[in-house]
């Protein structure tokens, strides 16, 4: 019985994932099955609907600054319910992102987890979320 229930929940989770990570192109713009780690210094946090986004500087191997951008999967109302606000991230903050890389290999990604100034921040427990729940859902 438990096995059957688990299978049903598993199938539901897969169907749900296919639906939620797809706001006019999210799931088809990023490699959702891969995660990279990116560390940078924030230049702007845009807590707007429906795509909260983050802009930050990353130093490459040669010490050159590369401008990065990232989108969050949850919408502002969902993030707000997790304690976020427009002033949660400020310019100059250090972020470490677990991020789905773009299919184009450009320096943009979809945030899967985030550590802000050394503190792990909640993004909700969407399908495939690691223990503790870092991943959010995207409409």
């Amino acid at each position: 019985m438990h096995t059957k229930l688990s299978i049903i929940i598993g199938i539901a989770a897969v169907l749900c994932a296919a639906t939620v990570f797809a706001h006019h192109g999210t799931s088809i713009s990023y490699e959702m099955d891969k995660t990279i780690n990116v560390t940078g210094v924030v230049t702007e946090f845009d807590f707007s609907f429906p795509h909260p986004s983050l802009y930050f500087d990353v130093k490459d191997e040669k010490g050159q600054v590369v401008k990065w951008g990232a989108e969050f999967l949850p919408t502002p109302p969902v993030m707000r319910n997790l304690g976020w606000s427009k002033i949660t991230i400020k310019s100059g903050d250090t972020v470490v992102l677990g991020c789905h890389p773009s299919k184009s290999k450009k320096p943009v990604c979809a945030v899967q987890s985030i550590t802000l100034n050394g503190k792990a921040m909640p993004l909700g427990g969407g399908p495939g979320a690691p223990a503790g729940g870092q991943r959010g859902q995207r409409q």
Partner: protein, 260 residues
């Protein structure tokens, strides 16, 4: 005999339970925030949406051609580079797409308020609304000079406890849903709303658009639950898709990501 008595007792017991659990409601009062709980986010769950074994959309050749010019961000025809979903530029979604309540929680709802001569349907996406007149007026003639509207022109009437909405005069730039199904400005739409219990509203739609569809096309049955919001807040969220914000997002994030 014993078996029949037991069956009768069971039926009596269950009907008593039902009576105890059933909340009173007025079938002709549709007031409230209705949250879509049925799974399909499209107009109809035809195979292109990947859900169920349903017949293909009844396209005419012109309809199929128009469909192939729409590049959605969802489903098996999702195209990251050519995507041209009106939603991606914050253009109005229109009716019936607004009625689908296609986005997921916490925005997958609309609200109805009823007045003496009209019903107002408020859509959370874009924080916009439509008016369904119930004062007996006639729909406008579909003449070439009629201004087409994003949400069309709508009138409503009661057929027993079903609220029937007839609409015409749609702007053909909108899609039926996020899967890119098209329509012309000659489309006629009928919506049938039925409150089946205190907490449940059911909706089916039928569109008639002979240029693009060979026969009337019926939606799947959509189910909405009263006040089943993911987050109940004391104040409205006021969800807007702001063109300047969306444009910046597309330019700096989404377009580079998709190699557009």
């Amino acid at each position: 005999m014993m078996r029949i008595s037991s069956l009768a007792a069971a039926l009596l017991f269950s009907s008593t339970l039902f009576a105890q659990n059933a909340k009173p409601f007025d079938a002709r009062d549709l007031t409230g925030k209705w949250v879509r709980t049925s799974a399909n986010q499209g107009f109809s769950n035809v195979p292109e949406t990947g859900r169920g074994n349903f017949p293909e959309a009844p396209f005419t050749p012109a309809g199929k051609e128009a469909y192939l010019q729409n590049f959605p961000g969802y489903g098996p025809r999702a195209d990251a580079v050519r995507r041209n979903d009106p939603m991606g530029t914050c253009d109005p979604l229109g009716v019936p797409r607004n009625v689908n309540a296609e986005v997921v929680s916490s925005h997958n709802w609309w609200e109805i308020t009823q007045a003496r001569d009209r019903i107002i349907q408020f859509f959370e996406w874009h924080h916009e609304y439509r008016v369904i007149y119930t004062d007996g007026r006639k729909l406008p003639e579909l003449t070439p000079d009629l201004d087409r509207k994003w949400n069309g022109y709508s009138v409503g009437r009661w057929e027993a406890d079903t609220f029937v909405v007839e609409s015409v005069g749609f702007d053909e730039r909108t899609w039926l849903d996020k899967f890119g199904y098209p329509h012309t400005d000659e489309m006629r739409l009928q919506e049938r709303y039925r409150r089946v219990d205190a907490d449940t509203l059911e909706l089916t739609m039928v569109l008639t658009d002979p240029q693009y569809y060979t026969k009337p096309w019926e939606s799947d049955r959509k189910v909405f639950k009263l006040n089943a919001l993911q987050f109940e807040k004391p104040w409205d969220e006021q969800i807007y898709c702001v063109p300047s914000e969306e444009s910046k997002f597309n330019r700096l994030i989404r377009d580079p990501a998709s190699g557009r």
